[in-house]
Amino acid sequence: MDTSQSQDLQDTLSYLHNEINRIEAIAETLSTRARDHYHQLTNYDDKGLTDMAVEEQHAARQLATIQKMCITMAGKLGQLNEDGHGDKGWESGQVDQTH
């Protein structure tokens, strides 16, 4: 792989890493929101709203799972970058992190 291709790969990995971090942050926010919805929707004695609350609660868990999967994927991308370049690359702060 020549220097230009290597740089392209590093840029792509960096882009993916940043986006995955963003998805993780969004999933966390939405998960918290969905959990709040569960509590709000169960305030009413209505079967339909309770079913929506149940679905919100499951959505909250699945968003938390997405968050966890993003953390794992971000870690793997970081490892890929290290393996490819023998240094920390953008993991060590060359590229701005989302958070």
Partner: protein, 473 residues
Amino acid sequence: MIKLIENMIRSAIDKSVDKMITTAIRDQYTENLFEMIPTAGKIGMVNLMEIAMRGNHGTPISRPLGSPIRLSPWEKILFNPVHLFRFPTQETMGIDTSVTIGPRAKKPMTISIPIMIAAMSFGGALSKSAKIALAKAATAVGTATNTGEAGLMKEEREEAQLLIGQYNRGGWMNTPDKYKQLDAIEIQLGQGAQGSCHQRTSSKNIGEDYREVYGLQEGEAAIIHSRLPGVHTKDDFIQLVRRLRDETGVPVGLKIAATHHLEKELQIAVESGVDFITLDGTEGGTHGGSPTLQDDVGLPTLFAISRANQFLTQKGLVQGTSLIATGGLATPGQMLKAMALGADSVYIGTAAIMALVGEQVVRAVPFEPPTSLVVYTGKRTSQLDVDQAAMSLIRFLNASLMEMEQVAETLGRATLSDITKADLCVMDPFLAKATGIQLGYVAPEEQSQFFDETKPFFLSPDHVGYDESTIHH
């Protein structure tokens, strides 16, 4: 008028009961209908009826849903809440319920809740609509469902976001065109309610849709062999696992009936490099199986999981090899205790089916059993509302998860998978000794002293001359 009829009925009942009691008291005991009461007490009502059924059929009878005998003493285990020594988890914090099955696989499978839908095959066990309802519910909650010993049903694959397929002893899923469509592969060598015994579904119970999924000819029976086709040696099995892992990249696991030979079976499983191990305790359910295989064969789920966890811990494989518990797990407490004992996740079968049927039970009873709505050969399968059934199961799973989360909160744990034996105590010294859970009778620092002082009560069979040779003869 109504009052008059009511009084007449009361009077008739009064006279009939009086006559019945008087007859029961005066008649010779050997000629007395009352003899049925002590007889049923001696033999058991279930056994009494099954004796009559055997006498009528002349072939092994097929009891649905598994053994009524509950051999795993889950009720003797309790969780240990915390207050100050460690603080409870704050209620505003969500409890992490996700689990990754087969973390060493190229494509591990992450599920949002640690409860999966157990292997229940289309045709061999359930109707198409029941399988679709299970798949819909599993997808809605972010978990996996299992094909059971069947071929790949297109509709199930489409509905299930995560589908575990059984590489089975009937051979119906064992070709690349099928198993490459799965999210995890479970090599099925046995099940709690059947051991590794063969099973046969007669062609009279096989419809066109069944034949299509299984690739059977008209008039051909569906046979699950006692051995997996092509696997006759330990090396055959090891090669199969390696080939499936290489070809697919998805987690490849092994499912067996729990047995006292557990460690010997697990040794071969870990040599093969399986990503997960499913242990089905003797309490495991089935669409129908002989009472003897259900009641008298296997090892209870609780001990199977505890022993497997100890085995994997000793081998240093507890992190890389997922352990899945199944067999008679009916309550969230039992499921969470299985996880605390070392299971990464659990499968539920009977509980899922009961939840699925839910309120729709009224469409079957009193003239048909509730399962007639969901089993392939059931008389009421066309009356099952798939979306309503899926929603009942979604609600059940949410309620179960929330109860498990409540326990995690009071234990001061942030994730369900962080709950371990250290969060348990047990109300039986033998169980404590066998499972490594602390005995609730005495303080943690007095455990050693208690067991030292009571050593004579815990002599192993080796100390009383009870070795394997005596077992064989």
